[in-house]
Amino acid sequence: MADLYQIEDLRLSLADMTAKPLFGAAPRLEILKGLSFTIPKGAVVGIVGGSGSGKSTLGRALVRLLEPSGGAIRFDGTDITHLPEPALRPLRRRMQMIFQDPMSSLNPRHRVGTIIAEPLRLHGFDAIPDRVARALDHVGLPQSFAARYPHELSGGQRQRVGIARAIALEPDFILADEIVSGLDVSSQAQVLNLLERLVAELGLTLAFISHDLSVIRRLCQRTIVLYRGEIVEDRPTADLFADPQAAYTRELLDAIPLPDPAQAWA
Protein backbone atom coordinates (compact mmCIF):
# COMPACT_ATOMS: atom_id res chain seq x y z
CA MET A 1 0.00 0.00 0.00
CA ALA A 2 1.32 3.43 -0.91
CA ASP A 3 1.94 5.97 1.80
CA LEU A 4 -0.25 9.07 1.97
CA TYR A 5 1.98 10.76 4.52
CA GLN A 6 5.72 10.36 4.96
CA ILE A 7 7.12 12.18 7.95
CA GLU A 8 10.85 12.33 8.42
CA ASP A 9 12.61 13.70 11.46
CA LEU A 10 9.84 16.24 12.00
CA ARG A 11 10.85 19.02 14.34
CA LEU A 12 8.80 21.92 15.51
CA SER A 13 9.64 24.66 17.95
CA LEU A 14 7.60 27.61 19.08
CA ALA A 15 8.65 30.86 20.70
CA ASP A 16 8.19 30.63 24.45
CA MET A 17 6.62 34.01 25.19
CA THR A 18 6.49 33.45 28.95
CA ALA A 19 10.27 33.20 29.10
CA LYS A 20 10.84 36.13 26.76
CA PRO A 21 13.39 38.55 28.17
CA LEU A 22 12.47 42.23 28.15
CA PHE A 23 14.76 42.77 25.19
CA GLY A 24 15.69 40.28 22.51
CA ALA A 25 14.01 37.22 21.10
CA ALA A 26 12.07 34.68 23.10
CA PRO A 27 13.78 31.31 23.52
CA ARG A 28 12.50 28.50 21.30
CA LEU A 29 10.54 25.78 22.96
CA GLU A 30 11.08 22.45 21.26
CA ILE A 31 7.74 20.68 21.06
CA LEU A 32 8.26 17.98 18.42
CA LYS A 33 11.70 16.42 18.63
CA GLY A 34 12.34 14.52 15.44
CA LEU A 35 9.36 12.32 14.61
CA SER A 36 9.47 9.83 11.75
CA PHE A 37 6.53 7.70 10.66
CA THR A 38 4.30 7.03 7.69
CA ILE A 39 0.55 6.88 7.22
CA PRO A 40 -0.46 4.44 4.48
CA LYS A 41 -3.45 5.23 2.29
CA GLY A 42 -6.66 4.02 3.88
CA ALA A 43 -5.13 3.53 7.33
CA VAL A 44 -6.68 4.62 10.60
CA VAL A 45 -3.86 5.70 12.86
CA GLY A 46 -4.29 6.62 16.49
CA ILE A 47 -2.06 9.20 18.13
CA VAL A 48 -2.08 9.06 21.93
CA GLY A 49 -0.14 10.72 24.68
CA GLY A 50 -0.67 12.68 27.83
CA SER A 51 -1.57 16.31 28.02
CA GLY A 52 1.15 18.48 26.56
CA SER A 53 2.87 15.61 24.78
CA GLY A 54 2.51 17.42 21.44
CA LYS A 55 -0.39 15.58 19.83
CA SER A 56 -2.24 18.68 18.68
CA THR A 57 0.98 20.28 17.55
CA LEU A 58 1.77 17.21 15.45
CA GLY A 59 -1.76 17.22 14.03
CA ARG A 60 -1.62 20.89 13.14
CA ALA A 61 1.73 20.37 11.46
CA LEU A 62 0.26 17.52 9.39
CA VAL A 63 -2.45 19.79 7.94
CA ARG A 64 0.05 22.64 7.83
CA LEU A 65 -1.66 24.99 10.25
CA LEU A 66 1.84 25.11 11.72
CA GLU A 67 5.10 25.20 9.84
CA PRO A 68 7.72 22.70 10.98
CA SER A 69 11.13 24.02 11.89
CA GLY A 70 12.94 20.95 10.62
CA GLY A 71 12.53 17.62 8.88
CA ALA A 72 10.05 16.89 6.11
CA ILE A 73 6.37 16.17 5.59
CA ARG A 74 5.42 14.61 2.29
CA PHE A 75 1.75 14.39 1.39
CA ASP A 76 1.07 11.97 -1.43
CA GLY A 77 4.58 12.53 -2.73
CA THR A 78 4.52 16.35 -2.48
CA ASP A 79 6.84 17.97 0.01
CA ILE A 80 4.59 20.33 1.97
CA THR A 81 6.99 21.07 4.82
CA HIS A 82 7.51 24.72 3.94
CA LEU A 83 4.99 25.18 1.16
CA PRO A 84 3.61 28.74 1.26
CA GLU A 85 -0.12 29.21 1.78
CA PRO A 86 -1.09 29.94 -1.86
CA ALA A 87 0.70 26.83 -3.09
CA LEU A 88 -0.88 24.85 -0.29
CA ARG A 89 -4.43 25.90 -1.11
CA PRO A 90 -5.19 23.38 -3.85
CA LEU A 91 -3.94 20.60 -1.57
CA ARG A 92 -6.08 21.79 1.31
CA ARG A 93 -9.19 20.17 -0.11
CA ARG A 94 -7.51 16.80 0.26
CA MET A 95 -6.47 17.19 3.91
CA GLN A 96 -9.22 18.12 6.27
CA MET A 97 -9.50 18.49 9.99
CA ILE A 98 -12.20 18.01 12.61
CA PHE A 99 -11.67 20.14 15.69
CA GLN A 100 -11.98 19.32 19.35
CA ASP A 101 -14.40 22.07 20.29
CA PRO A 102 -17.21 22.32 17.74
CA MET A 103 -18.61 25.45 19.38
CA SER A 104 -15.42 27.31 18.62
CA SER A 105 -14.74 25.68 15.25
CA LEU A 106 -18.15 26.49 13.74
CA ASN A 107 -18.63 30.16 12.98
CA PRO A 108 -21.43 31.18 15.37
CA ARG A 109 -22.87 33.67 12.88
CA HIS A 110 -23.09 31.35 9.88
CA ARG A 111 -25.84 28.85 9.30
CA VAL A 112 -24.99 25.17 9.19
CA GLY A 113 -25.71 25.12 5.45
CA THR A 114 -23.24 27.94 4.87
CA ILE A 115 -20.63 26.34 7.08
CA ILE A 116 -20.69 23.20 4.94
CA ALA A 117 -21.14 24.98 1.59
CA GLU A 118 -18.43 27.63 1.94
CA PRO A 119 -15.40 25.28 1.65
CA LEU A 120 -17.06 23.65 -1.36
CA ARG A 121 -17.46 27.04 -2.99
CA LEU A 122 -13.82 27.91 -2.30
CA HIS A 123 -12.69 24.80 -4.12
CA GLY A 124 -14.99 25.32 -7.08
CA PHE A 125 -17.32 22.39 -6.59
CA ASP A 126 -20.51 22.21 -8.63
CA ALA A 127 -23.98 21.18 -7.42
CA ILE A 128 -23.22 22.56 -3.99
CA PRO A 129 -26.75 22.31 -2.51
CA ASP A 130 -26.82 18.61 -3.43
CA ARG A 131 -23.46 18.05 -1.83
CA VAL A 132 -24.50 19.84 1.34
CA ALA A 133 -27.64 17.73 1.49
CA ARG A 134 -25.64 14.56 1.01
CA ALA A 135 -23.11 15.54 3.68
CA LEU A 136 -25.90 16.17 6.20
CA ASP A 137 -27.37 12.83 5.22
CA HIS A 138 -24.05 11.09 5.73
CA VAL A 139 -23.75 12.35 9.30
CA GLY A 140 -27.39 11.62 10.11
CA LEU A 141 -28.69 15.16 10.48
CA PRO A 142 -32.06 16.20 9.01
CA GLN A 143 -31.98 18.61 6.07
CA SER A 144 -33.79 21.26 8.09
CA PHE A 145 -30.61 21.72 10.12
CA ALA A 146 -28.99 23.56 7.21
CA ALA A 147 -30.96 26.65 8.24
CA ARG A 148 -29.83 26.55 11.86
CA TYR A 149 -27.08 28.35 13.67
CA PRO A 150 -24.51 26.33 15.64
CA HIS A 151 -25.83 27.48 19.01
CA GLU A 152 -29.17 25.92 18.14
CA LEU A 153 -27.58 22.45 18.12
CA SER A 154 -26.47 20.06 20.83
CA GLY A 155 -22.80 19.23 21.31
CA GLY A 156 -23.05 15.94 19.44
CA GLN A 157 -24.96 17.56 16.59
CA ARG A 158 -22.35 20.28 16.32
CA GLN A 159 -19.60 17.72 16.07
CA ARG A 160 -21.56 16.02 13.28
CA VAL A 161 -21.62 19.32 11.42
CA GLY A 162 -17.84 19.47 11.82
CA ILE A 163 -17.60 16.00 10.32
CA ALA A 164 -20.02 16.89 7.51
CA ARG A 165 -17.94 19.93 6.61
CA ALA A 166 -14.80 17.81 6.39
CA ILE A 167 -16.23 14.92 4.36
CA ALA A 168 -18.17 17.16 1.95
CA LEU A 169 -14.86 18.10 0.32
CA GLU A 170 -14.18 14.43 -0.45
CA PRO A 171 -10.76 14.59 1.17
CA ASP A 172 -8.12 11.86 1.17
CA PHE A 173 -7.08 12.52 4.73
CA ILE A 174 -8.88 13.64 7.86
CA LEU A 175 -7.29 14.66 11.10
CA ALA A 176 -9.55 14.29 14.11
CA ASP A 177 -8.16 16.04 17.18
CA GLU A 178 -9.87 14.88 20.38
CA ILE A 179 -13.22 15.14 18.66
CA VAL A 180 -15.20 13.31 21.32
CA SER A 181 -13.55 14.57 24.46
CA GLY A 182 -16.10 17.36 24.90
CA LEU A 183 -19.10 15.05 24.56
CA ASP A 184 -21.05 12.92 27.00
CA VAL A 185 -20.64 9.17 26.82
CA SER A 186 -23.63 8.38 24.63
CA SER A 187 -22.87 11.15 22.10
CA GLN A 188 -19.27 9.94 22.12
CA ALA A 189 -20.38 6.48 21.10
CA GLN A 190 -22.64 7.86 18.38
CA VAL A 191 -19.97 10.09 16.91
CA LEU A 192 -17.40 7.28 16.99
CA ASN A 193 -19.81 4.89 15.30
CA LEU A 194 -20.46 7.48 12.66
CA LEU A 195 -16.77 8.10 12.07
CA GLU A 196 -16.07 4.39 11.87
CA ARG A 197 -18.81 3.93 9.27
CA LEU A 198 -17.70 6.92 7.20
CA VAL A 199 -14.08 5.82 7.14
CA ALA A 200 -15.15 2.44 5.79
CA GLU A 201 -17.68 3.86 3.34
CA LEU A 202 -15.56 6.66 1.93
CA GLY A 203 -12.18 4.95 2.11
CA LEU A 204 -10.69 7.76 4.17
CA THR A 205 -7.28 7.89 5.72
CA LEU A 206 -7.71 9.00 9.30
CA ALA A 207 -5.39 10.23 12.02
CA PHE A 208 -7.24 10.11 15.29
CA ILE A 209 -5.78 12.03 18.19
CA SER A 210 -6.92 11.09 21.66
CA HIS A 211 -5.70 10.76 25.18
CA ASP A 212 -8.19 7.95 25.70
CA LEU A 213 -6.77 4.55 24.80
CA SER A 214 -10.13 2.80 24.95
CA VAL A 215 -11.35 4.98 22.09
CA ILE A 216 -8.19 4.37 20.10
CA ARG A 217 -8.47 0.64 20.65
CA ARG A 218 -11.87 0.61 19.05
CA LEU A 219 -11.10 2.69 16.03
CA CYS A 220 -7.46 2.41 15.03
CA GLN A 221 -5.43 -0.39 13.51
CA ARG A 222 -2.21 1.30 14.43
CA THR A 223 -1.23 3.51 17.33
CA ILE A 224 1.54 6.03 17.79
CA VAL A 225 2.36 6.88 21.38
CA LEU A 226 3.85 10.33 21.96
CA TYR A 227 5.72 11.28 25.07
CA ARG A 228 7.17 14.76 25.45
CA GLY A 229 7.41 15.31 21.73
CA GLU A 230 8.94 11.97 20.89
CA ILE A 231 7.49 8.72 19.56
CA VAL A 232 7.86 6.01 22.16
CA GLU A 233 5.83 3.39 20.33
CA ASP A 234 4.43 2.95 16.85
CA ARG A 235 2.78 -0.44 16.45
CA PRO A 236 -0.46 -2.20 15.55
CA THR A 237 -2.99 -1.40 18.25
CA ALA A 238 -3.64 -5.04 19.15
CA ASP A 239 0.07 -5.64 19.82
CA LEU A 240 0.30 -2.46 21.83
CA PHE A 241 -2.50 -3.50 24.11
CA ALA A 242 -1.30 -7.06 24.46
CA ASP A 243 2.28 -6.19 25.17
CA PRO A 244 3.14 -2.53 25.80
CA GLN A 245 6.86 -1.95 25.28
CA ALA A 246 7.47 1.49 26.67
CA ALA A 247 6.94 2.18 30.36
CA TYR A 248 4.91 5.23 29.41
CA THR A 249 2.49 3.15 27.34
CA ARG A 250 1.94 0.88 30.31
CA GLU A 251 1.14 3.91 32.40
CA LEU A 252 -1.41 5.06 29.85
CA LEU A 253 -2.95 1.60 29.73
CA ASP A 254 -3.24 1.50 33.49
CA ALA A 255 -5.08 4.78 33.39
CA ILE A 256 -7.99 3.26 31.45
CA PRO A 257 -10.81 2.43 33.82
CA LEU A 258 -11.11 -1.37 33.72
CA PRO A 259 -9.80 -1.94 30.20
CA ASP A 260 -9.98 -5.67 30.72
CA PRO A 261 -12.00 -7.06 33.62
CA ALA A 262 -9.89 -10.21 33.93
CA GLN A 263 -6.75 -8.15 34.29
CA ALA A 264 -8.35 -5.80 36.78
CA TRP A 265 -9.36 -8.69 39.04
CA ALA A 266 -6.05 -10.44 38.87
Binding site: L65, R89, R92, M97, F99, S104, N107, R109, E152, L153
Partner: protein, 288 residues
Protein backbone atom coordinates in the same frame (compact mmCIF):
# COMPACT_ATOMS: atom_id res chain seq x y z
CA UNK B 1 -39.87 10.22 11.97
CA UNK B 2 -39.52 10.01 15.71
CA UNK B 3 -35.75 10.32 15.45
CA UNK B 4 -35.86 13.59 13.59
CA UNK B 5 -38.36 14.98 16.07
CA UNK B 6 -36.19 14.10 19.00
CA UNK B 7 -33.15 15.59 17.32
CA UNK B 8 -35.23 18.66 16.50
CA UNK B 9 -36.08 19.17 20.14
CA UNK B 10 -34.48 22.56 20.44
CA UNK B 11 -37.14 24.38 18.52
CA UNK B 12 -36.88 28.02 17.63
CA UNK B 13 -36.81 30.31 20.61
CA UNK B 14 -39.37 33.08 20.27
CA UNK B 15 -37.89 36.49 19.65
CA UNK B 16 -38.62 39.21 22.11
CA UNK B 17 -40.83 41.95 20.84
CA UNK B 18 -38.09 44.54 21.32
CA UNK B 19 -40.00 47.50 22.71
CA UNK B 20 -36.91 49.63 23.00
CA UNK B 21 -36.07 49.04 19.36
CA UNK B 22 -39.50 50.26 18.26
CA UNK B 23 -39.56 53.24 20.61
CA UNK B 24 -36.09 54.45 19.72
CA UNK B 25 -36.51 53.77 16.00
CA UNK B 26 -39.91 55.50 16.16
CA UNK B 27 -38.52 58.67 17.72
CA UNK B 28 -35.56 58.79 15.34
CA UNK B 29 -37.83 58.11 12.38
CA UNK B 30 -40.08 60.96 13.42
CA UNK B 31 -37.05 63.20 13.74
CA UNK B 32 -35.79 62.20 10.30
CA UNK B 33 -39.14 63.06 8.74
CA UNK B 34 -39.19 66.36 10.57
CA UNK B 35 -35.69 67.17 9.36
CA UNK B 36 -36.41 66.24 5.76
CA UNK B 37 -39.69 68.11 5.57
CA UNK B 38 -38.75 70.99 7.88
CA UNK B 39 -39.55 73.86 5.47
CA UNK B 40 -43.03 72.43 4.85
CA UNK B 41 -44.07 71.21 8.28
CA UNK B 42 -42.56 73.85 10.54
CA UNK B 43 -45.46 76.12 11.51
CA UNK B 44 -43.38 79.32 11.35
CA UNK B 45 -40.19 80.64 9.83
CA UNK B 46 -37.54 79.64 12.39
CA UNK B 47 -35.61 82.86 11.86
CA UNK B 48 -38.54 85.31 11.80
CA UNK B 49 -38.26 87.68 14.75
CA UNK B 50 -41.12 89.58 16.22
CA UNK B 51 -40.28 91.62 19.27
CA UNK B 52 -43.94 92.06 20.15
CA UNK B 53 -44.23 88.27 20.50
CA UNK B 54 -41.13 87.73 22.66
CA UNK B 55 -41.18 85.06 25.40
CA UNK B 56 -44.66 83.77 24.65
CA UNK B 57 -45.33 80.61 26.72
CA UNK B 58 -46.43 77.26 25.23
CA UNK B 59 -50.08 77.06 24.17
CA UNK B 60 -51.36 75.29 27.27
CA UNK B 61 -50.08 78.04 29.56
CA UNK B 62 -52.07 81.22 30.29
CA UNK B 63 -51.29 84.14 28.02
CA UNK B 64 -50.05 82.07 25.09
CA UNK B 65 -50.23 83.23 21.50
CA UNK B 66 -52.14 80.76 19.28
CA UNK B 67 -50.02 79.10 16.60
CA UNK B 68 -46.85 79.12 18.67
CA UNK B 69 -47.18 75.62 20.11
CA UNK B 70 -44.08 75.55 22.26
CA UNK B 71 -43.85 79.29 22.80
CA UNK B 72 -41.31 81.79 21.53
CA UNK B 73 -37.84 82.88 22.61
CA UNK B 74 -36.80 86.38 23.66
CA UNK B 75 -36.61 87.50 20.02
CA UNK B 76 -40.07 86.17 19.29
CA UNK B 77 -38.93 83.19 17.23
CA UNK B 78 -41.07 80.03 17.29
CA UNK B 79 -39.44 77.37 19.49
CA UNK B 80 -41.10 74.38 17.78
CA UNK B 81 -40.03 75.53 14.32
CA UNK B 82 -36.51 76.07 15.55
CA UNK B 83 -36.40 72.58 17.08
CA UNK B 84 -37.63 71.08 13.81
CA UNK B 85 -35.07 72.97 11.78
CA UNK B 86 -32.38 72.19 14.37
CA UNK B 87 -33.00 68.48 13.76
CA UNK B 88 -31.47 68.91 10.31
CA UNK B 89 -28.05 69.85 11.63
CA UNK B 90 -28.24 67.39 14.52
CA UNK B 91 -29.09 64.43 12.31
CA UNK B 92 -26.69 65.41 9.58
CA UNK B 93 -23.84 65.56 12.06
CA UNK B 94 -24.94 62.30 13.68
CA UNK B 95 -25.20 60.34 10.43
CA UNK B 96 -22.20 61.71 8.60
CA UNK B 97 -19.78 61.97 11.52
CA UNK B 98 -20.95 58.65 12.99
CA UNK B 99 -20.56 56.77 9.73
CA UNK B 100 -17.17 58.18 8.79
CA UNK B 101 -15.82 57.62 12.31
CA UNK B 102 -17.13 54.07 12.25
CA UNK B 103 -15.70 53.18 8.87
CA UNK B 104 -12.24 54.56 9.61
CA UNK B 105 -12.01 53.28 13.18
CA UNK B 106 -13.51 49.85 12.55
CA UNK B 107 -11.35 49.23 9.47
CA UNK B 108 -8.15 50.08 11.30
CA UNK B 109 -9.22 48.07 14.34
CA UNK B 110 -10.12 45.05 12.24
CA UNK B 111 -6.83 45.15 10.35
CA UNK B 112 -4.78 45.52 13.53
CA UNK B 113 -6.65 42.84 15.45
CA UNK B 114 -6.74 40.27 12.69
CA UNK B 115 -3.43 40.75 10.89
CA UNK B 116 -1.46 41.48 14.08
CA UNK B 117 2.31 41.75 13.54
CA UNK B 118 3.67 45.05 12.32
CA UNK B 119 0.26 46.28 11.14
CA UNK B 120 -0.99 46.02 14.71
CA UNK B 121 2.17 47.60 16.04
CA UNK B 122 1.76 50.67 13.82
CA UNK B 123 -1.98 51.10 14.42
CA UNK B 124 -1.75 50.50 18.16
CA UNK B 125 1.02 53.07 18.55
CA UNK B 126 -1.04 55.54 16.55
CA UNK B 127 -4.02 54.97 18.86
CA UNK B 128 -1.86 55.41 21.97
CA UNK B 129 -0.39 58.66 20.73
CA UNK B 130 -3.78 59.92 19.61
CA UNK B 131 -5.38 59.23 22.95
CA UNK B 132 -2.74 61.23 24.76
CA UNK B 133 -4.39 64.45 23.46
CA UNK B 134 -7.14 65.82 25.71
CA UNK B 135 -10.24 65.55 23.48
CA UNK B 136 -12.05 68.77 24.40
CA UNK B 137 -9.00 70.96 23.91
CA UNK B 138 -8.22 69.05 20.77
CA UNK B 139 -11.66 69.72 19.29
CA UNK B 140 -11.68 73.40 20.22
CA UNK B 141 -8.23 73.76 18.71
CA UNK B 142 -9.31 71.98 15.55
CA UNK B 143 -12.38 74.18 15.09
CA UNK B 144 -10.30 77.25 15.76
CA UNK B 145 -8.00 76.19 12.95
CA UNK B 146 -10.70 74.97 10.55
CA UNK B 147 -13.15 77.76 11.32
CA UNK B 148 -16.74 77.08 12.45
CA UNK B 149 -19.13 75.22 10.18
CA UNK B 150 -20.82 71.87 9.68
CA UNK B 151 -17.81 70.14 8.19
CA UNK B 152 -15.46 71.40 10.87
CA UNK B 153 -17.63 69.73 13.49
CA UNK B 154 -17.77 66.51 11.53
CA UNK B 155 -14.02 66.46 11.00
CA UNK B 156 -13.43 67.22 14.68
CA UNK B 157 -15.65 64.32 15.74
CA UNK B 158 -14.03 61.88 13.32
CA UNK B 159 -10.52 62.92 14.25
CA UNK B 160 -11.18 62.55 17.95
CA UNK B 161 -13.41 59.51 18.10
CA UNK B 162 -12.04 57.03 15.58
CA UNK B 163 -9.84 55.58 18.32
CA UNK B 164 -12.93 54.50 20.26
CA UNK B 165 -13.90 52.19 17.39
CA UNK B 166 -10.36 51.12 16.62
CA UNK B 167 -9.62 50.02 20.18
CA UNK B 168 -12.79 48.04 20.74
CA UNK B 169 -12.88 46.44 17.31
CA UNK B 170 -9.20 45.52 17.52
CA UNK B 171 -9.69 43.71 20.83
CA UNK B 172 -12.79 41.97 19.52
CA UNK B 173 -11.13 40.91 16.25
CA UNK B 174 -8.17 39.58 18.20
CA UNK B 175 -10.40 37.46 20.41
CA UNK B 176 -12.28 36.16 17.36
CA UNK B 177 -9.04 35.46 15.52
CA UNK B 178 -8.04 32.95 18.20
CA UNK B 179 -11.19 30.90 17.66
CA UNK B 180 -10.97 27.57 15.88
CA UNK B 181 -13.35 28.63 13.15
CA UNK B 182 -10.57 30.85 11.84
CA UNK B 183 -8.16 27.90 11.75
CA UNK B 184 -10.97 25.95 10.15
CA UNK B 185 -11.35 28.56 7.41
CA UNK B 186 -7.65 28.16 6.71
CA UNK B 187 -7.99 24.40 6.50
CA UNK B 188 -10.81 25.02 4.04
CA UNK B 189 -8.43 27.10 1.92
CA UNK B 190 -9.74 30.58 2.58
CA UNK B 191 -7.27 33.43 2.19
CA UNK B 192 -6.51 36.07 4.81
CA UNK B 193 -8.68 38.80 3.37
CA UNK B 194 -11.60 36.44 2.84
CA UNK B 195 -11.30 35.17 6.39
CA UNK B 196 -11.27 38.70 7.74
CA UNK B 197 -14.33 39.79 5.79
CA UNK B 198 -16.44 36.64 5.76
CA UNK B 199 -15.56 35.00 9.07
CA UNK B 200 -14.36 37.69 11.49
CA UNK B 201 -16.43 40.68 10.35
CA UNK B 202 -19.88 39.06 10.89
CA UNK B 203 -18.81 38.31 14.45
CA UNK B 204 -17.57 41.83 15.13
CA UNK B 205 -20.50 43.50 13.38
CA UNK B 206 -22.90 43.52 16.37
CA UNK B 207 -20.30 45.37 18.40
CA UNK B 208 -19.71 47.78 15.54
CA UNK B 209 -23.42 48.55 15.23
CA UNK B 210 -23.74 49.29 18.94
CA UNK B 211 -20.68 51.53 18.79
CA UNK B 212 -21.99 53.27 15.68
CA UNK B 213 -25.32 54.24 17.22
CA UNK B 214 -23.59 55.32 20.42
CA UNK B 215 -21.28 57.45 18.32
CA UNK B 216 -24.24 59.06 16.59
CA UNK B 217 -25.61 60.02 19.98
CA UNK B 218 -22.23 61.36 20.98
CA UNK B 219 -22.05 63.36 17.75
CA UNK B 220 -25.38 65.01 18.57
CA UNK B 221 -24.06 65.96 22.00
CA UNK B 222 -20.75 67.23 20.65
CA UNK B 223 -22.55 69.39 18.12
CA UNK B 224 -24.78 70.75 20.89
CA UNK B 225 -21.82 71.46 23.16
CA UNK B 226 -19.95 73.24 20.41
CA UNK B 227 -23.04 75.29 19.59
CA UNK B 228 -23.39 76.01 23.27
CA UNK B 229 -19.92 77.51 23.38
CA UNK B 230 -20.60 79.25 20.07
CA UNK B 231 -18.09 77.25 18.09
CA UNK B 232 -20.54 75.47 15.84
CA UNK B 233 -22.50 76.52 12.80
CA UNK B 234 -23.02 80.19 12.06
CA UNK B 235 -25.72 81.68 14.26
CA UNK B 236 -28.34 82.21 11.56
CA UNK B 237 -29.09 78.47 11.48
CA UNK B 238 -31.08 77.11 14.41
CA UNK B 239 -29.33 74.37 16.35
CA UNK B 240 -30.39 72.63 19.55
CA UNK B 241 -27.17 73.56 21.30
CA UNK B 242 -27.58 77.18 20.29
CA UNK B 243 -31.15 77.21 21.57
CA UNK B 244 -30.08 75.69 24.88
CA UNK B 245 -27.37 78.28 25.24
CA UNK B 246 -29.81 81.12 24.52
CA UNK B 247 -32.47 79.60 26.74
CA UNK B 248 -30.11 79.35 29.66
CA UNK B 249 -29.87 83.13 29.89
CA UNK B 250 -33.62 83.56 30.33
CA UNK B 251 -34.51 80.36 32.14
CA UNK B 252 -36.28 82.22 34.95
CA UNK B 253 -38.51 84.22 32.64
CA UNK B 254 -39.04 81.67 29.86
CA UNK B 255 -38.20 78.11 30.90
CA UNK B 256 -39.64 76.65 27.68
CA UNK B 257 -36.86 78.11 25.56
CA UNK B 258 -34.38 75.94 27.45
CA UNK B 259 -36.47 72.90 28.35
CA UNK B 260 -37.90 71.83 24.98
CA UNK B 261 -34.64 71.68 23.07
CA UNK B 262 -33.09 69.95 26.07
CA UNK B 263 -35.80 67.25 26.12
CA UNK B 264 -35.45 66.78 22.37
CA UNK B 265 -31.70 66.41 22.71
CA UNK B 266 -32.07 63.99 25.59
CA UNK B 267 -34.60 61.78 23.79
CA UNK B 268 -32.48 61.74 20.66
CA UNK B 269 -29.27 60.72 22.39
CA UNK B 270 -31.13 58.11 24.43
CA UNK B 271 -32.80 56.74 21.30
CA UNK B 272 -29.50 56.40 19.50
CA UNK B 273 -27.96 54.42 22.33
CA UNK B 274 -31.02 52.20 22.67
CA UNK B 275 -31.26 51.69 18.92
CA UNK B 276 -27.92 49.86 18.81
CA UNK B 277 -28.77 47.51 21.65
CA UNK B 278 -32.22 46.97 20.20
CA UNK B 279 -30.86 46.15 16.75
CA UNK B 280 -28.42 43.70 18.29
CA UNK B 281 -31.17 41.94 20.22
CA UNK B 282 -33.34 41.77 17.17
CA UNK B 283 -30.90 40.78 14.42
CA UNK B 284 -27.94 39.02 16.00
CA UNK B 285 -28.56 35.30 15.36
CA UNK B 286 -26.52 34.31 18.39
CA UNK B 287 -28.68 36.29 20.80
CA UNK B 288 -31.95 35.64 19.08
Amino acid sequence: MAEAKAIDGRSMVRRRAGLRLWLSAGWLGLLCIAALLAPWIAPKDPLAQDLFLGRMPPVWVMGAEPGYWLGTDSLGRDVLSRIIHGARIALMVALIAGTITCVIGATLGLLAGFLRGWVDLVISRLIDIWMAFPPVLFSILLIAVLGPGLWSIIIAIVVIDWTRFARVVRAEAMAQGAMDYVASARVAGRGRLGTMLREILPNVLPTIVVLLTLEMGIAVIVEAILSFVNLSISTDQPTWGGMISEGRASVHQAWWVLVFPLITLFLTVLSFSQLGEGLKDRFDPVLR
